[in-house]
């Protein structure tokens, strides 16, 4: 009962004309920014934060939240259309989403992402509202050993993203982990693997690798195919068919559940959610071979997981005052600026803020759906532009985006280097997606490993001491075993010569 009256209070706060206006503005800005490669919600929020000083704190947060979600939507759009993951969370969407676009089903893919995200956002908001306390409890109980094991499982899950050899993908994950360790080591102050280059002290930025491996690689590969000058693949209906809707529903449900759970954990949540959801779909599917070739489930599940995780990512921020990511840290900063102390008491001391935020999250999701579905047609028109005109534009946006991340030309050069690496990877059929996850999780993995060992004073047994951690590692061992088994058993079949 109290829950309902709180929600009512929330909606009353969120639906004031001014709040709706700012929510809409935030969503619009967020989507536009999200579509532009390189610029992300972090930069946008940072830039727009000063404009919110004059606003009412609730309104300010509502707008910032709108930007945050909007950029997630925008990021999925570029992932699908251009094979460019704007953020970690869109990496998985690229795999099947871009394939769908190549098959002329870009509209369906974008619509699926929008619908999945909306549903997950709605559910996520409800879950957030209802389960703030238990979710917080769960987040508190996750110690470094559990985090480590969860991330290990996540990385193994990333391996199953690859449609090719799993050991190759595992290798890519490790390369990603190693690349993630480049830079200054937080604990010792030592610069690692920087080869004397001081621009590497801050590490290798995610967008640099994503741009190089995905965007540049895609452009290089596509020019050869499309410069024949033929018309692009006929674009089928923009809307999902009944069959599509039937197929996307279970993945959306599963993705939401996974995303909501994993998202509540500070830090790892957002990146892992979509990877877990995708690999779960692949495992429960009766036709796993369609993944990687334009399976709608491969878009619906990760997108739902993303959005659900984005909602529950507010849990540690609001309830514990622990920001889960840099973007959350900015939101935290915004709250502090407006004199709100996040923490377990925020629900009580500022109920209108908390519930207003939750209600506006939902409204934001509605607005985004309203904004994006009609835009699908517009985005798809973009694909009709002859590729020889399109790809220089994409390059332009990419390069400017790259440069503007840290105002560094070295990032541009580094991305070109990764573009070359991406070309080589394609030749030996090593898939880039697992590398990106490794890159993001590398530092966190090491940090939790270090912490767990510190607390246990060097006892490796700490990783199997708790049921959660032990269970997760057991899952990892089982998965690795199945990889090895399928790899060896393939070898027993007689050699088949290529035609």
């Amino acid at each position: 009962m109290e829950f309902l009256s709180n929600l009512a209070l929330g909606f009353a706060t969120a639906t004031t004309p001014i709040n709706i206006f700012y929510a809409f503005l935030g969503c619009l800005l967020g989507t536009v920014i999200g579509v532009l490669p390189g610029l992300g919600p972090l930069l946008t929020i940072a830039m727009l934060l000063p404009f919110t000083y004059g606003l009412d704190p609730t309104t300010a947060l509502i707008m910032l939240a709108g930007i945050y979600y909007g950029s997630q939507y925008g990021g999925s759009t570029t992932a699908i259309l251009l094979s460019l993951p704007g953020e970690t969370s869109s990496v998985v969407t690229v795999i099947d989403g871009h394939e769908m676009a190549r098959q002329g089903r870009a509209g369906v893919a974008i619509a699926t992402a929008a619908i999945g995200s909306f549903f997950a956002g709605t559910m996520g908001s409800l879950l957030l509202a209802a389960f703030v306390v238990p979710l917080t409890q769960m987040a508190i109980n996750f110690g470094p050993a559990e985090y480590f094991s969860l991330m290990v499982v996540g990385l193994i899950a990333a391996v199953s993203l690859a449609s090719g050899s799993q050991f190759k993908a595992l290798g890519m994950v490790i390369i990603g982990l190693l690349l993630g360790l480049v830079g200054v080591d937080v604990n010792s102050g030592l610069t690692r693997f920087t080869l004397g280059a001081d621009f590497l002290w801050d590490g290798i930025d995610f967008i640099v690798v994503a741009m190089g491996l995905f965007a540049f690689g895609e452009i290089i590969a596509s020019i050869g195919e499309k410069s024949g000058g033929g018309p692009p693949a006929a674009i089928a209906s923009l809307w999902p068919t009944r069959e599509d809707v039937r197929r996307m529903t279970p993945p959306i449900l599963r993705g939401t559940a996974i995303g909501a759970l994993v998202g509540a954990l500070p830090g790892a949540g957002l990146a892992l959610g979509s990877f877990f959801a995708y690999s779960l779909e692949k495992r429960v599917s009766r036709t796993p071979e369609i993944f990687g070739k334009g399976a709608i489930e491969g878009v619906a599940a990760p997108e739902a997981a993303n959005n659900a995780a984005a909602q529950t990512a507010f849990v540690p921020t609001l309830a514990l005052g622990i920001p889960g990511s840099a973007t959350m840290a900015l939101m935290l900063g915004a709250m502090t600026l407006h004199n709100i102390q996040p923490g377990p008491q925020v629900v009580n001391t500022n109920p209108d803020l908390f519930w207003g935020l939750i209600a506006s999250m939902w409204i934001g999701n509605v607005l985004l759906l309203v904004l994006n579905l009609p835009l699908v047609g517009l985005w798809v028109q973009l694909l009709r532009v002859p590729y020889r005109l399109l790809y220089p534009m994409i390059l332009m946006f990419s390069c400017i985006g790259l440069f503007s991340v840290r105002n560094s030309i070295h990032d541009v050069f580094l991305a070109a280097g990764f573009g070359a690496a991406g070309y080589l990877f394609r030749l030996i059929r090593c898939e880039p997606a697992p590398l990106l996850l490794g890159l993001v999780l590398g530092p966190m993995l090491e940090e939790n490993f270090r912490r767990a060992l510190l607390i246990s004073r060097g006892d490796y047994g700490t990783f199997v001491a708790t049921p959660v951690s032990g269970g997760l590692l057991a899952m990892t061992a089982a998965l690795l075993f199945t990889f090895a088994y399928s790899s060896w058993s393939r070898r027993r079949r007689p050699l088949v010569t290529e035609p």
């Binding site: 010792s188 290089i220 195919e225 070739k293 573009g419």
Partner: protein
């Protein structure tokens, strides 16, 4: 050797090289003890693991494997890589364009950098067939870039060549 195996072989070789390289560098960092791991501990382990996987891949590729699992995807990739020489030219041009952008953006400003980027990358597509169209595209791109990033978003970067304006 079948294509698939050849790819696995090279991938394995790459992994061994990268893994050993990282591990070697990691040994120059303090390792610490199990209870207080140093900066070299984790990357050393990872590097060795990577090299191990590489070895596994190489062994696997020489023993002969059925490639039927990746047939469909392979065919697509084979068709795409059929013209490796042509692909290489495209790759080099695109990457050269990006590098040119990076080199020019500070001294020559955004507009010049964008124009050069578009012109060089267009070479990868249809070569010098339509120089006027390419130039128009470059100018249009520069205008759009200015409109969105400088005028619209107000990003701090050099617009005109240093020394002008």
């Amino acid at each position: 050797m079948v294509d698939e195996e050849r790819r696995d072989f090279w991938a394995g070789l790459l992994y061994i090289a990268v893994g050993l390289a990282f591990a070697a560098v990691a040994t120059t960092y303090p390792m610490g003890t199990a209870s207080r791991i140093g900066p070299g501990y984790f990357p050393f382990g990872l590097g060795l693991a990577l090299a191990g996987i590489g070895g596994f891949l190489i062994v696997g590729s020489r023993r002969g494997r059925a490639a039927d699992r990746n047939r469909v995807a392979d065919a697509k990739v084979c068709a795409g890589e059929a013209d490796v020489a042509g692909g290489l030219r495209v790759a080099l041009l695109i990457l050269a364009a990006v590098v040119a952008f990076g080199v020019l953006i500070r001294p020559a400003g955004l507009l010049v950098a964008v124009i050069v980027l578009v012109v060089v990358s267009s070479l990868a597509g249809e070569g010098l067939h339509a120089p006027l169209k390419t130039l128009l595209l470059a100018l249009a791109a520069a205008a759009i870039a200015w409109a969105i990033f400088i005028s619209g978003l107000g990003l701090p970067m050099q617009v005109w060549p240093a020394g002008l304006s």
